[in-house]
Amino acid sequence: MKIMNCPLNGPRNISEFVWGGEVSIMPDPKSVSDLEWGEYCFIENNTAGVVREWWCHVPTSYWFIAERNTVTDEIVRTYPAGEIFNKRVEFAKQSEDKK
């Protein structure tokens, strides 16, 4: 069984984790076309190589990000989601900016 290093809890059996999909940045729902929105919802890149993924440590419900090589299944690095998502997301402001 693989080991994954949880940034909060340390190395644990992979059975303690659930996968939460690739990290993808949501397009601005106000400006995105229907087609692009559909692609964002339904199309996965399925990259062969290192991908960024959401993983959750189930006993603590702790979400973090793992960089994993989909070819070798090697977990390259794990880190808190705050490394990528480091500022408050405002939807109202975004749409106002565009006006």
Binding site: P29, D34, G82, R88
Partner: protein
């Protein structure tokens, strides 16, 4: 020979031979109905051999007699039935008093198997039999099935037996370094790793440490092995940081050095930083005519019989060899009083050393450059009776037989193959070494180390050095450095161990390459000529290597044959991929002790005391209804009526509960749910509908605002864990100032519902104004009930005046007791999930995942009122826009039956438009309150207007008509719940 020796069997050798047996403890068992006596420590096979019983089973296809081959459980020859347990390895399983053992694979008796006649029709059982027979002529299965089922297969399972479940369990084990294999390399590795500072677990499949040191001969005097074994084993015992596991088998290698180790009924999950695989090598058979007869065995098997069990392998032996070990065996046999008729050496000019010279001095005939052409037998192949010997004139080519030797034993000592299974599992690349004529590990993955004969190392001092090096390297890899750096041995002594071509076809065939599957040289050649010319393809086609021993003796020979037939270079080939497990595992080991968590509410035992029929809801148990199963329908109607007319109490503890708190709490709910919560007043609640990014409904509930910054959010029983996880994942991105806590289990809850619920509640709740004005419909309050701190909510799920009361879970049973007592005067009675489903359906409330599916959006569910259009964003909002624009293909409607006499449809009965399926019934019930069928169904949008009719296909294909009606069905103005 003393009396006690005779008791242990006529072939029993005197002490000190018999390392594993205890001659003071006799054990009697039966084999094929005959009584035998052996010693404690004997395996089934050694005890039988001691009593001169050599035939243990019959082969899979031709039902040929088979006997001892390896004495270490590497072959399928010794699979026996012990009681109701099939396929036990007779050469591994220790005998126990009164064990009842039977052979396998015969019709009638093992001695006189009627199935042995199959061999006579072998030309009708060609290689690729299944492919050829069933691929083209599929109907032929009907003819062949009963025959194949009767003849093939291993062991018997008595399906009528009273199956007992033994206790199996699993346990984790941890160490810095694991050493798999307790032979010389493993012992040296464990000692070195431990001395370097690592915590070590040493896993050995036999009862004793030592491996080949305990039975093989390393020198002329024959005591070097046991001396080294004793020394190393005693040093291991003195080393405090080595844990030794004997009778333990590591059956696989899994990611990040996770090693399953089976010992008795326990499956260990061993996790280490580094692992040394010192798994040794597997002696390979020679392939010649009738090489499968009982009495023909590996040289190492004979040595195991002699030294481990004190059993004489026969009276007169011929040794076929291509290495030094064959000469060691000759000396062992002589010392044990067994006549050696001849040593037949495949090599034209074998190197001379002290052991070969000792054999010469003993006057034993040595024929070099010769091979066995054929083995002869007595009595329907029950035992070998002699061999004919011929000169080797080319690779696998023999001249005319030049001699015959009468013998009852033939030892094969012609080479080895690494027991590289675990290395294979770990992803090691093996390459063919043209000097040693063996495959050897070339690229071993990180944190894995190989040592000893699995690592192409055979000279004893080199094996020990290789073990020490691997132990040191593994400890270093695990983070330990003590003492000086070690280097691997330069000379490994791997040459002159393995013959490159110990395969000798015979004009009359029956030279077995694979004993498990009864495959002969010609079968493999025919398979290759049928077009299956790669090792992997040939394996699937011919089944070579697919039997219980998984190619341990056939894989290398198969590769050699493919190489020669196709002209491929062995250096570019490998044996077929090895996958776990290394040895067969029992389902009991894999299952272990079953852990099956379930969740119970605080009132669980009260429900049982009240006679509830419990039903599962996810991991939870909930009361379905209270009373006997026979009265189910009437009980549910009574429970419904009591809520409508009086007062009922239901346990709603399983309902999800989330505390959402912080300055951004309202903004957070606005984003997670379709509705708007910013302006919800403190002390009020509002419906929640959750959709995912694609606009599909995933959950619903109620948001109760207890403070400007505090919402108590309910979620469905089965949905709450997913909702909670989704909330945390989204806020990991949004970074709103909000905290979400899943408090589901921390609160027990009840819904007291019915026109008299206020009256009952007032008896135990004194600090909340319960008047309709003071605590109106959809209001929420904090207070106490029966002195217990409580969160109260006026909700309308069942459509009556009612209060949900949530209290800390440890008070749940006391709350239930208090309300049941307070309602006694009013005839309060508990109601279950079944009644609640009826009550809510009468009100037309949906249940997410019953009335919705994996594609339902808010418009299809006819809930556009729940989707706020003015707010900047919610999850699924963008998709909802698109869904609204695209229009509907189906719509959820309430319906009754056009003809009141028609049967009530069931969930998932189809809704048709003409012949097209356009939807389905999601819920339907005969309403006790309305005395007619009411239900919810997806219909075509054109048929969704009240008054429209649509077709429902019910049981038996009958079509009935539903009529669309507005919901709620009951109390359409919702007056009762708003009292």
């Amino acid at each position: 020979m003393t009396a006690s020796n005779q008791m242990g069997g006529i072939n029993r050798l005197p002490a000190p031979r018999g390392l594993l047996i205890d001659r003071s403890k006799q054990i009697t068992f039966t084999f094929e109905g005959h009584s035998f006596t052996g010693y404690a420590g004997d395996t089934v096979a050694s005890a039988l051999a001691a009593n001169d019983a050599w035939m243990i089973s019959r082969s899979f296809k031709y039902h040929r007699p088979r006997g001892v081959l390896t004495m270490i459980g590497q072959d399928a020859n010794t699979l026996v039935q012990i009681g109701d347990e099939p396929n036990c390895l007779a050469d591994k399983r220790a005998i126990e008093p009164d064990m009842a053992i039977e052979g396998q694979n015969y019709i009638g008796t093992l001695e006189a198997d009627r199935g042995r006649m199959v061999e006579l029709v072998k030309k009708f059982l060609p290689v690729g039999f299944y492919y050829k027979t069933f691929h083209e002529k599929r109907d032929s299965w009907r003819f062949w099935e009963p025959i194949v089922r009767a003849m093939a297969g291993l062991g018997k399972i008595d399906l009528k037996a009273d199956f007992h479940h033994s206790y199996y369990d699993k346990k984790y084990l941890f160490a810095d370094v694991a050493v798999i294999g307790g032979g010389p390399a493993g012992l040296a590795a464990a000692l070195q790793a431990a001395e370097t500072g690592a915590e070590v677990i040493l896993v050995e499949e036999s009862p004793q440490l030592g491996g080949s040191l305990n039975y093989a001969r390393f020198d002329e005097t024959g005591d070097g092995g046991s001396r080294t074994s004793g020394e190393l084993a005693s040093r291991v015992r003195l080393q405090p940081n080595i844990t030794v596991m004997t009778n333990a088998i590591c059956s696989g290698w899994f990611a990040d050095n996770w090693l399953p180790v089976i010992q008795g009924n326990r499956f260990h999950k061993l996790r280490v930083k580094a692992v040394v695989l010192a798994t040794g090598s597997i002696e390979q058979p020679a392939v010649f005519r009738n090489n499968d007869l009982p009495g023909i065995m590996m040289g190492s098997a004979a040595q195991r019989l002699i030294h481990l069990y004190g059993v004489r392998p026969g009276k007169r032996a011929v040794i076929l060899t291509a290495n030094r070990d064959g000469y060691g065996q000759a000396l062992d046999l002589l010392e044990a009083g067994i006549e050696v008729a001849a040593v037949i050496d495949l090599r034209p000019t074998p190197p001379q050393d002290t052991m070969t010279k000792a054999v010469q001095r003993a006057g034993i005939e040595i024929r070099t450059g010769h091979a066995i052409a054929e083995a002869m037998h007595i009595g329907q192949k029950k035992h070998v009776s002699g061999v004919s010997v011929a000169p080797i004139i080319g690779e696998g080519e023999l001249g005319k037989a030049v001699a015959e030797y009468a013998c009852d034993t033939v030892l094969m000592s012609v080479g080895y193959s690494p027991a590289g299974q675990l290395l294979h599992h770990a992803g090691t690349k093996f390459g063919y070494d043209t000097r040693s004529h063996m495959f050897k590990p070339e690229a071993v993955p990180a944190h894995v180390f190989a040592a000893g004969s699995v690592n192409n190392t055979f000279d004893l001092s080199a094996v020990l050095a290789d073990g020490r090096y691997a132990g040191w390297a593994a400890a270093k890899d695990a983070g330990f450095e003590r003492g000086s750096e070690l280097a691997p041995p330069v000379e490994r002594g791997a040459e002159e161990q393995t013959h490159p071509w110990p395969i000798f076809p015979h004009a009359k065939g029956m030279e077995f390459v694979d004993f498990d599957e009864d495959l002969k040289i010609e079968d493999l050649i025919n398979g290759i000529h049928d077009g299956y010319d790669s090792v992997e393809l040939l394996k699937r086609y011919s089944t070579v290597g697919m039997g219980p021993s998984q190619g341990k003796h056939s894989a290398v020979a198969a590769v050699r044959i493919v190489s020669r037939e196709t002209g491929m270079d062995l250096r570019n080939m490998s044996v077929t991929t090895q996958r776990p497990p290394y040895t067969p595992e029992k389902f009991g080991h894999l299952a272990g002790r079953i852990f099956d968590p379930e969740r119970r509410t605080a009132m669980h035992h009260r429900h049982l005391e009240l006679g509830a029929q419990m039903m599962p809801a996810g991991l939870w148990w909930r009361p379905g209804y209270y009373g006997a199963k026979a009265d189910r329908d009437q009980i549910i109607r009574d429970e419904v009526n009591n809520v409508r007319n009086n007062v009922g109490l239901i346990d709603v503890s399983t309902l999800g509960g989330l505390d959402v708190r912080g300055p951004d709490a309202a903004e957070f709910l606005n984003r997670m749910y379709t509705f708007t919560y910013t302006k919800l007043q403190v002390g009020r609640s509002r419906y929640l509908l959750m959709t995912d990014q694609t606009g599909v409904i995933t959950d619903d509930g109620v948001a109760c605002r207890f403070h400007d910054e505090h919402f108590y959010v309910t979620a469905t029983t089965s949905g709450v864990d997913g909702v909670y996880r989704q909330m945390l994942q989204w806020n990991a991105q949004w970074r709103l100032d909000v905290d979400v806590a899943n408090v589901t289990a921390a609160y027990a809850g009840v819904n007291i519902a019915g026109p008299k619920s206020r009256e009952v509640l007032a008896r135990v709740c004194h600090d909340i104004d319960l008047s309709p004005e003071g605590f109106p419909y959809l209001g929420v309050r904090m207070g106490t009930v029966a002195g217990i701190p409580a969160r109260l909510m006026r909700v309308g799920f069942v459509g009556e005046l009612g209060y949900e009361i949530h209290v800390p879970a440890s008070y749940g049973e006391a709350l239930w007791d208090a309300l049941m007592a307070a309602g006694g005067l009013n005839g309060i009675r508990p109601f279950g999930v079944e009644a609640q489903r009826v009550l809510r359906l009468e009100k037309g409330h949906i249940i997410v995942s019953q009335d919705t599916d994996g594609l339902t959006n808010a418009y299809e569910a006819d809930m556009p009122w729940a989707v706020a259009k003015s707010k900047p964003f919610h999850v699924g909002g963008r998709s909802a826009e698109i869904q609204l624009k695209n229009g509907l293909t189906r719509k959820l409607v309430g319906f009754t039956l056009k003809n009141a006499d028609d049967p009530c449809p069931e969930e998932c009965h189809l809704v048709l438009k003409g012949s097209a399926i356009v939807g389905r019934v999601t819920s339907a019930v005969h309403s006790p309150s309305l005395k007619k069928v009411v239900g919810l169904a997806y219909v075509h949008p054109d048929d969704a207007q009240p008054g429209s009719t649509f077709d429902i296909k019910v049981h038996g294909g009958r079509i009935i008509q539903g009529t669309v009606v507005p919901i709620p069905f009951f109390d359409p103005e919702n007056k009762r719940q708003e009292m």
